[in-house]
Symmetry: C2
Subunit: 174 residues, 2 copies
DNA sequence: GTCTATAGTCCGATAGAC
DNA sequence: GTCTATCGGACTATAGAC
């Protein structure tokens, strides 16, 4: 993608929308037709990730504890991302360099959490449990994803499982 | 505060920085000296909340499990907010009305989480545990705060404790 | 305190697909 | 003809530079 190249060359802030549009061979106006704003080029505008997570929650077997449902959902979602590791690394580096991009990423995760709460409730999970399970699931995914990017000795799915085990140890009373 | 009044009257997006500055009796330029951007007027620019959380983590007795340290820290932080409930309600309503304000709030919580990780590590907590404990603590604070705003039968501290108990039930294996 | 660049919106015009 | 995608230009507000 033209935008990611330019962000790598000049940095995110120093790259104007006009420059991105020019490299992509369209006008500024057309850029804004495809992306609501400049930040959105780095995120999955189609909502494919969210859709995959919701579908996985719906498809999980009845009676599975909510936190296990979440673990499966994020393992599935991870496969959507893990396929293109080089892209994920470049993208993560750019996001780490700019606070407004971090804001957008956090908002996407929050929307993912909200969608997960809805999907769990549709399975009959009560509200407090659904909220906390979705919150824990997203946090575990976030931590697991960061670890996988930093060190790929394990797969993304394994990193997510590892983070969930860590959370269990931390939260359990001693 | 002038900004909160105007946001309530016209809505956040429809309120220009010029209008806020005018009502406050200063120039636009002065506004941007005090606040990095328009959104920042609704957040604690002085970092008092973060400072309080870090201080509470440092002050916790030795040997306390990390998640209990976090619970205490957020009970303390909550007291800083809970004092002015009417303000908290107005502020929450404005933030709920605008996506860019939600982004900023999530970033503040993420910075709080990062500061908590550092403070836990300074106490000698290992990295995976520190990250997950801080993450769980912030999530529990977020959920507890939302519940307290929606229904004040219980105090904020009680709501936070309640959310932590819910998290334990959700995460524990059945 | 002024001056300017950039993000993002609105309206209308144009060109190609079917 | 209609529908959709692109474009052009003017416009406002934020935010940073001088």
């Amino acid at each position: 993608m033209a935008a990611l190249e330019l962000f790598g060359e000049r940095g995110y802030e120093q790259t104007t929308v006009a420059a991105i549009a020019e490299r992509a061979g369209v006008t500024e106006r057309t850029f804004f037709r495809y992306f609501a704003d400049k930040r959105e080029v780095l995120f999955d505008s189609s909502g494919g990730l969210q859709h995959g997570v919701v579908a996985a929650i719906e498809a999980a077997p009845d009676g599975l504890p909510p936190i296990e449902v979440m673990a499966r959902a994020f393992a599935v979602a991870g496969d959507l991302i893990a396929g293109d590791r080089a892209f994920a690394e470049q993208r993560a580096a750019v996001i780490a360099s700019d606070a407004s991009l971090q804001e957008r990423e956090l908002l996407k995760l929050e929307r993912l959490r909200q969608a997960a709460v809805e999907a769990l409730r549709d399975r009959g999970v009560a509200l407090p449990a659904a909220e906390l399970a979705a919150g824990a699931g997203v946090a575990v995914f976030h931590v697991g994803f960061a670890r996988w990017l930093a060190d790929d000795d394990l797969t993304l799915a394994e990193r997510i499982r590892e983070a969930l085990d860590d959370l269990r140890h931390v939260v359990v009373e001693h």
